[in-house]
């Protein structure tokens, strides 16, 4: 993961350097046009530009190799320590549980064993206490989670079998979800232990950030969301480009960037907000970019920037749809969570709530499973998912085009060229296959014709002459002649 991150960071850096080089040379070019020296300086400038671009590429590939080496070094030497790490983790976790338990007991004893919410007239005070609850548990559990991730990663590096690696990965995800659910519910359990049985108070104890993280883990939004990474990458590219485009562009960019930042900070809030937000981002992007498009001469660069603009629009549209989809999942899940809280509160009061977390977890899975299957069966979800897949596909196609434009100056085989090759290869193979089949059929027919006894052949010849030659017999005759 770290490796991938470094790789893309290097890639972004290279893109940035290449853009800088391009901008610098474009400016020089304009000066030379103005000074009438374009013919003499043009070739020289191109050579310099090319040299710089090559250096950029070299730096990037060198950095990428180094990243690979670093990862290798990290992997080696960690595996043998795996069980030691586990042992240390176990000791640490027991200490952390004790510590957390003491803290929580302290919190409750501090309010003298009465209902901690009694006498809290202001909802802000209640919220503040609920938040403190949550923070104590969150910090403790986060430390635990972090500790467990290290040995998981080390183990993963050593597993030669893909299946075991995948299983380990899914265990890690499962463990994280399990812990996240516990993290979310721990304050409620503690409150129930202290005889607080109020579903409304329980709801306030639920940390929405943790809840979102739980949903992300359950549905793999992080893993399923390469768009988000690509969007970030696009933003980085756009930053580099705008920064080189002077003050007026910077102003345009600032407003665009503010919107993007706002987007990241407020995800998820509500659907109407998103629609408005993306509309704004889109229009600001267009407003700030269009003056530069007008200035640019027709040609490859303009085409490239147009594609970048298209890609930007696709990313924005896709991020919008994805946010809507996530919003749908979060809000739907939140409703189920409330139902579970109410159910739990009622049972806890009667002393009938699950006293072990595994049973609670099973019930939680069953209730969520049914509810989400219902959601995924709705027209709204299906359409949204379809739109998202389409946008993702278009992003893929546009990125391919853009990538090809970037690479066209280099001696590499492009994807479209490979596709052409595959197509030709496929067609030729098909022709050869058809010809092979025809040949086999001819050989078979020849063998049949030759192996017929002379008398039968004579009889057949008479029959053929008497009737009219059948097309198949005619074909056979011509085949044997061949």
């Amino acid at each position: 993961m770290e490796n991938t991150k470094n790789f893309f960071e290097n890639w972004v850096e290279t893109q940035k350097s290449m853009l800088e080089n391009w901008t610098e040379k474009a400016q020089e070019f304009q000066k030379n046009v103005a000074g009438g020296e374009i013919l003499t300086k043009g070739t020289e400038m191109y050579q310099e530009w090319l040299k710089k671009q090559q250096e950029n590429i070299k730096t990037f590939t060198g950095a990428a190799e180094k990243t690979g080496e670093e990862v290798k070094e990290k992997v080696e030497g960690t595996v043998e320590n795996f069980f030691d790490q586990w042992k240390a983790f176990q000791e640490k976790s027991v200490n952390m549980w004790t510590e957390a338990s003491q803290k929580m007991t302290g919190f409750f004893s501090g309010i003298n064993s009465h209902n901690p919410f009694d006498g809290m007239t202001s909802s802000n005070i209640m919220m503040d206490n609920a938040r403190k609850y949550q923070e104590t548990w969150t910090n403790t559990l986060k430390s635990m989670s972090d500790s467990i991730k290290t040995p998981f990663s080390a183990q993963s590096a050593d597993m030669a079998s893909k299946t075991i690696n995948d299983t380990l990965g899914s265990m890690k995800k499962g463990y994280e979800s399990f812990m996240k659910l516990y993290e979310l519910w721990a304050p409620v359990f503690k409150a129930a232990e202290n005889k607080v049985f109020n579903s409304e108070e329980y709801k306030k104890m639920m940390n929405p950030v943790l809840y979102k993280e739980l949903m992300d883990k359950m549905f793999g939004f992080d893993a399923l969301n390469p768009l988000k990474n690509a969007y970030d990458q696009y933003t980085k590219n756009a930053t580099a480009w705008y920064e080189k485009m002077g003050t007026s562009a910077k102003d345009g960019y600032k407003s665009f960037k503010d919107s993007v930042d706002q987007f990241a900070a407020r995800l998820p809030e509500n659907e109407a907000f998103f629609t408005e937000m993306f509309k704004n981002i889109n229009s600001q992007f267009k407003t700030s970019v269009s003056p530069f498009f007008k200035l640019m001469p027709e040609g490859k660069e303009k085409e490239q920037m147009t594609l970048m603009n298209d890609l930007g629009e696709l990313y924005i549209a896709s991020a919008n749809k994805l946010a809507k989809l996530q919003y749908l999942v979060y809000t739907h899940g939140a409703k189920i969570n409330e139902q579970i809280i109410e159910d739990f509160s009622e049972k806890a009061q009667k002393g009938e709530a699950n006293t072990d977390f595994n049973a609670f977890y099973t019930n939680w899975i069953n209730m969520n499973g049914k509810a989400f299957e219902g959601l995924f069966g709705t027209d709204e979800f299906s359409k949204l998912q379809g739109e998202l897949v389409t946008l993702d596909s278009k992003i893929r196609t546009t990125t391919d085009k853009l990538m090809e434009m970037n690479l066209s100056a280099y001696p590499v085989v492009l994807k479209s060229q490979l596709d052409e090759l595959y197509k030709t290869n496929y067609e030729l193979k098909k022709q050869v296959y058809e010809m092979g089949k025809q040949l086999a059929s001819m050989v078979k027919d020849t063998v049949v014709t030759n192996s017929k006894p002379a008398a039968t052949e004579a009889k057949a010849a008479v029959k053929t002459e008497a009737k009219v030659a059948e097309p198949k017999a005619a074909a056979k005759t011509s085949t044997s002649k061949k």
């Binding site: 549980w97 183990q155 893909k162 463990y175 595959y422």
Partner: protein, 351 residues
């Protein structure tokens, strides 16, 4: 009983302990072997291979069976482990079994069409078996998408198929009972195939995972409970290996299959054209055994059951099997019931 967070904390610690023990077993799990029933390769073209399972004795059902699995996932499901192997079971019951292995399409296979699969590879394999065995027709058994392929093939080449068996096979795509059927109708297949070229197996797996959204969560819980049992852990790992072994889909074939069948339901409408052949299900005149799973969420019964209404044959049987799409092949009931039912049906028509 009242809730005590101390107990919950202890429970969490015990989960961690179980994980440690389990990971040790996972570390020592060794190679995960599937599809171990002996077989020999009898033919190969491009990435498609035809296998013949080895028999020590003469088959009691003379006409050989060719199994055509789906392009999605691998036929190893039928031979996951020795004590849960439909293949081994069929061999023990006296059948002579061949298997299509569609292989793993790469970028170069993006142009391979439905026509190539049906009129090319499948037809070649059928011809090879007919020639090798010196017979005019063989038994064809299709599973899931492989069943749809088999139905299409049998309608185009009825003279080459003696008996047709379909298992958990989608035929009528008008239903929205299964989420895949609903979602597929809302997707732009052209954009998808143009974007990917060869559609990745991971893409399909993501969709399958959403069918049971909480499966990952329950899996973790189940895994925790079996990790200290070597046999159960290996069973689990074999299944995981199969789930994750998901081949990519040849782009053009995927495009036509999804558009013509999932979106436009052309097969039952009699409008499907594969290569130069217009497919008419009424041309299926050989005996048909149509097996469906009652709890199938990938291919809902509503898509499989109507098949019997569209075919031309009068010798047709609908076989209801309790369980889900995968359970049909690996459940303990399968070994006792499904294999023998197939053998009995084929034996009765092996004249």
């Amino acid at each position: 009983m009242a809730i005590e967070t101390k107990n919950l904390a202890e429970e969490m610690a015990s989960v961690s302990e179980k994980l440690v023990k389990g990971l040790e077993n996972l570390q020592n799990a060794g190679e995960i072997l599937v599809a171990q029933t002996p077989k020999t390769q009898v033919w190969k073209r491009d990435k498609v291979t035809l296998y013949h399972y080895t028999r020590d004795t003469k088959p009691t059902v003379k006409t050989p069976v060719l199994i055509s699995y789906a392009l999605v996932n691998r036929q190893d499901m039928l031979d996951l482990q020795p004590d849960r192997s439909l293949i081994k079971n069929l061999l023990n019951l006296g059948l002579d079994v061949y298997m299509m292995d569609w292989g793993y399409p790469g970028p170069a296979e993006k142009y391979v069409t439905l026509d190539d699969y049906i009129n090319g590879y499948l037809n070649d394999a059928v011809d090879i078996i007919r020639e090798q065995q010196g017979i005019a027709s063989i038994n064809l058994m299709g599973i899931c998408q492989g069943g749809t392929f088999s139905a299409i093939y049998s309608a185009i080449y009825p003279e080459k198929i003696k008996n047709l068996i379909t298992l958990v096979t989608p035929i009528d795509f008008a239903t929205n009972d299964g989420l895949l059927f609903k979602w597929a109708k809302d997707m732009d297949m052209d954009a998808l195939v143009d974007g990917y070229g060869t559609v990745p197996g991971e893409f399909l797996n993501t969709g399958f995972a959403l069918l049971k959204p909480m499966a990952q969560a329950s899996k973790f819980q189940n895994l925790l409970n079996i990790m200290d049992d070597e046999d159960k852990l290996m069973n689990y790992l074999r299944m995981e290996k199969w789930i994750n072994d998901s081949p990519n889909q040849a782009g053009e074939c995927y495009r036509q299959f999804m558009k013509d069948l999932y979106q436009q339901n052309k097969l039952v409408k009699g409008e499907l054209v594969v290569g130069e052949h217009k497919v008419n299900l009424k041309d299926i005149t050989m005996p048909l055994l149509n097996i469906y799973a009652t709890e199938d969420n990938l291919v809902p019964p509503a898509s499989s059951i109507p098949f019997n209404d569209y075919v031309g044959t009068k010798d047709k049987e609908l076989y209801k099997f309790p369980g889900g799409h995968i359970g049909v092949f690996v459940g303990s009931r399968t070994q006792k019931e499904l294999g023998p039912a197939i053998e009995k049906w084929l034996a009765a028509r092996d004249k």
